[in-house]
């Protein structure tokens, strides 16, 4: 697994994917959080980072899809899947290797945003008067969210040998699980059910955890979603043997 992870991560670096993803992500969040007057933290007057945590899931929808789209599609197309699957390595190791390589890239992309936290806390009045709990919660939420997106992306990529199809499918699924359930909630037919249908969406749990309330139910939800898509990938990947 580590071997595959290393190889995948190296290819992100050598194909410049890693740099492009990081630059795009930091540029967008940076502009939104500090420069654009409509949304800027400076203009807003509150010492919080909500704007970044609200924007990031949307940026991730396409960035994560872009990172993961080639993971299996390309190997299928070029035929290298045959090289790798005839080596003494289990299917699960290949999938997890690719999964963690993509996740690692996303996490590294997130790292520089810690500077935002430092800046906000320095700007706060009095200095350091920030709701640190909420920020930590939001980061945990964002990491889980990215982890689900990556699982969805890898799954989409395993379905097709066409990267564009994988990309679009992954964006759709990420969007669907992030916010579609929130929107479905408002359909009259589904109103009034005891457990809101929005419970199924990532957005519901993400906003829960963003308040700094790390609830086991949310964690269980996140982990189940990750497992669901990893095992679906495994099923698709092994289906060549059916």
């Amino acid at each position: 697994m580590i071997t595959i992870l290393k190889k995948e991560f190296r290819s992100f670096l050598s194909l410049l994917i890693a740099y492009v993803v990081m630059i795009v992500f930091l540029l967008i969040t940076g502009l939104v959080a500090w420069v654009f007057s409509d949304t800027s933290i400076l203009e807003g007057g509150y010492a919080n980072m909500d704007i970044m945590f609200n924007t990031a899931p949307w940026i991730f929808i396409f960035l994560v899809s872009a990172i993961t789209m080639r993971s299996f599609s390309e190997e299928k197309k070029v035929g290298t899947l045959e090289t790798i699957t005839t080596k003494p390595i289990s299917d699960m190791s290949i999938i997890l290797g690719k999964y963690f390589a993509c996740l690692l890239l996303v996490l590294i992309t997130l790292l520089p945003t810690l500077i935002y936290y430092y800046s906000v806390s320095q700007l706060a009045n009095p200095i350091g008067n920030v709701d640190t709990g909420a920020v930590i919660g939001s980061y945990i939420g964002l990491v889980f969210l990215a982890a689900i997106y990556v699982a969805i992306g890898i799954f989409s990529s395993s379905l097709t040998d066409n990267q564009i199809v994988a990309f679009i499918l992954s964006m759709f699924l990420c969007f669907f699980f992030y916010s579609a359930f929130d929107m479905l909630k408002n359909i009259d037919l589904l109103k009034g059910s005891q457990f809101g249908i929005d419970w199924f969406g990532i957005g519901y749990h993400y906003s829960n955890i963003s308040f700094g309330r790390v609830d086991t139910r949310d964690i269980v939800y996140f982990i189940s979603m990750i497992c669901l898509f990893i095992f679906s990938t495994k099923a698709v990947f092994s289906s060549r043997k059916w």
Binding site: R10, T80, E82
Partner: protein, 305 residues
């Protein structure tokens, strides 16, 4: 026994790709797997390398069941897939190092250097695989199959698409490898089998139509021998037709092509005829029945029962 295949079948939908084939390959043999396109060569190899499962039957590599001990089988095999898929954006050494890691090769650097040398990649090993010519990519494919020093090599069309010089070099390489390893290679080129294989398995429509040592395969079908002869002075055709065992004569003047029954000692008869007629023979050449002919006979539908 390096490879043992028992009643192996593979169905794609309703189409039978291979139909209960049986063969075994002894340790250290170089075996050529021959057949027209779509005969089932690649399918058999893909099953043996655990890429796809068989529909029924059993196969063993070094005594290990390919279904039950899949990982262990893969550890002992070196496989060069058809079309030689490679990660084109990786450097040659980087790629070999990755494959070596997958196999957990000990003394990795040394082994990579060895493989680069054996496969003749020394001049190109700093390049990206995508920049290499087809011949060199094929060598990279071979190098990755060899990196863990496997006892069994399975090579799917190792020389297809290479220029004649490269073909000769790759063949020589496989021949050298065959001295200590079991090699199963597939090809459409019969000359290849003649050049490097101890034994040929000819497969057609998913079934084995011949499985013989290369030498026997050629002689087995010889019922007649063909001789090209050039005399010093012209000689009458009628005289030649009277020779014992002769079946047909073509040509005139000094050049003739004769066919005769095998074992009819036609060469000796020709010499004594020339002496008797005060003539002489400038050249005489017995044609070998090529494997091409054998192959054609065995794999055309008329002869397929």
């Amino acid at each position: 026994m390096s490879i043992l295949v028992q009643n192996l079948s593979k169905l794609y939908g309703n189409q039978k790709a291979i139909d209960s084939i049986n063969f075994e390959i002894e340790k250290g043999q170089v075996v050529g797997f021959l057949g027209p396109n779509g005969a089932g060569k690649s399918t058999t190899m893909k099953i043996l390398t655990c890429f796809i499962p068989q529909t029924s039957g059993k196969a063993f590599v070094n005594g290990l069941d390919i279904e039950e001990n899949s990982i262990e089988v893969r550890r002992q095999l070196g496989y060069l897939p058809e079309h030689n898929p490679l990660y084109l954006d990786m450097y040659v050494k980087e790629y070999l190092s990755f494959i070596a890691d997958v196999f957990k090769v000990k003394q990795k650097k040394k082994r990579i250097a060895e493989c680069i040398e054996i496969t003749g990649l020394t001049l190109e090993h700093r390049k990206k695989i995508g920049q290499l010519s087809k011949g060199y990519r094929q060598r990279v494919g071979l190098a990755q199959a060899l990196i863990h020093d496997p006892s069994v090599l399975i090579l799917d069309e190792p020389t297809s698409g290479l220029d004649p010089n490269q073909v000769v070099e790759i063949r020589q390489l496989i021949k050298n490898l065959g001295k200590e390893k079991t090699v199963l290679l597939s090809t459409h080129q019969l000359t290849e089998v003649e050049a490097i294989c101890d034994r040929a398995i000819i497969i057609n429509h998913g079934g084995i139509v011949a499985d013989k040592p290369t030498l026997e395969l050629k002689s087995g079908l010889d019922k007649q021998t063909t001789i090209d002869v050039v005399f010093g002075n012209s000689i009458s055709r009628a005289l030649l037709e009277k020779l014992p065992g002769i079946q047909s004569v073509s040509g005139q003047g000094i050049e003739f092509t004769l066919t005769a029954e095998i074992n009819s000692k036609i060469q000796e008869a020709l010499f004594s005829l020339a002496v008797k007629e005060n003539n002489n023979i400038l050249s005489m050449n017995q044609r070998q029945t090529s494997l091409e002919e054998v192959f054609k006979t065995l794999t055309t539908d008329d002869n397929h029962s």
